[in-house]
Subunit: 254 residues, 2 copies
């Protein structure tokens, strides 16, 4: 049995809690949450602590707090020589106070409270100071059905940065698509199969091979027609930047 | 039985052929292909024409030629009062020569020869001059298992433009993610579940609701760390543009 204390209950804490709760071999013995920000969705069946001196004994303390809070929260955890991990993509393992056995348990996914996550689709990036802790985090991930990857802080940071491009910025492209549809009375739903296929193509092809469209073909006529259609200056700028980047990549001129 | 002549055999022609071929109620009676560009993958079980005066009789002539060729190819089709459609997102129905009954049969998907397409995931945008032809195109789409949408040329153009954002530009963001992973020895595969979840989130949430990440939170610290990590000027430019757009949208400052 792996005993877990969850520290913080935001997006990641919420999803991690609900993924761990049904497991037989992992138990959440306690959730720490600041008094001042008691979320409405805090579970009633798990003991809640709101002071750091009331933390229960556990095998691992998982901090799902904001990046900025990692240093100070890890300092406030008074227990010594315990495995304390953070879940941040962009923070060094060494941000965690050195009285702890330090580690990282970074789930590479996009978490929204409104959307259920299937943890078998969540790769976990693991970093630890020693082999034993690595094995414990790996076991925890396996119980969740996750794949695991041993990554250094530098590798994890690059991955987090790449994730911002493929997730956050991609979602903003969806937003632009949504705006264009709405303002021309076209249901955005028509685009959804295309959006999914664009993602699924990567099962078979690299992004380089998967590219299609006017910019790749060097089809200036279509590109110019599109620029005429666009009324929003920011959208025009995005269109021009991407078309140039794609055309360059395939040795075309626009 | 709907009798089809396919005119052109590029990406769309290839996929349409292989989707129609197994159907009981639709028959491809002939493929027209220019002599000069006989593709290796041209099927051997269907008659091929390479001159416009040898076209067979059919219920519908589907042009899967490049946008630029639609006017001239439709002029060269000598048959009169036949239903002749193009498959372009960005071309007016009226580009088709007026001696024909004109129509549009635009499959909104990304087609690559190397990747099989499930046509039940392909929305077809239909435009015709008369009701009867609309019904025929709708039947054809239904046999393929596609959903259909009646769109005007203007609506279809907006949709095509939106598709460039959510498909072509998104794929280029995947490419940037791929480059960042490669140059830091991180397997790109780790990002694939995130990429798919980003697309699938739209089943439950609008892009506006689905947005996450440092720019949305107004987290300048992370944004600046990321900009420090980026060495490529173009990637920096994309990062800055998107972060500003997202921050503005959520009333944050970076």
């Amino acid at each position: 049995m792996i005993r877990v204390v969850l520290i913080g209950y935001g997006n990641v804490g919420f999803h991690l809690y609900h993924a761990i709760k049904p497991l037989n071999d992992v138990e959440i013995v306690q959730i720490y949450n600041r008094k001042s920000s008691f979320p409405k969705n805090l579970p009633k069946t798990t003991p809640i602590a709101n002071s750091f001196d009331k933390l229960e004994d556990a095998d691992v303390y998982i901090m799902t707090v904001s990046d900025d809070a990692i240093i100070s929260v890890s300092q406030k955890i008074q227990l010594k020589s315990k495995l304390v991990v953070h879940t941040s993509g962009n923070t060094s393992m060494h941000a965690i106070d050195k009285k702890h056995r330090r580690g990282v348990f970074y789930p590479l996914q996009t978490f929204s409270i409104q959307r259920q996550i299937n943890f078998s689709e969540v790769p976990i990036c693991i970093e630890t100071e020693n082999k034993e802790d690595e094995q414990l985090l790996q076991q925890l991930a396996e119980h969740l059905g996750c794949t695991t990857h041993k990554l250094s802080t530098d590798q994890r940071r690059s991955l987090h940065l790449a994730a911002v491009f493929v997730n956050n910025f991609t979602n903003h492209l969806y937003r632009i698509g949504h705006e264009l549809c709405e303002s021309n009375r076209v249901p955005f739903d028509i685009l959804k199969p295309l959006i999914k296929e664009t993602a699924s193509k990567l099962d078979d092809l690299t992004p380089f091979m998967a590219q299609t469209g006017p910019a790749k073909r060097g089809d200036s006529k279509t590109v110019n027609k599109h620029l005429e259609l666009l009324e929003n200056e920011k959208q025009k700028e995005v269109y021009t930047t991407f078309s140039q980047l794609i055309a360059n990549l395939y040795g075309k001129e626009l």
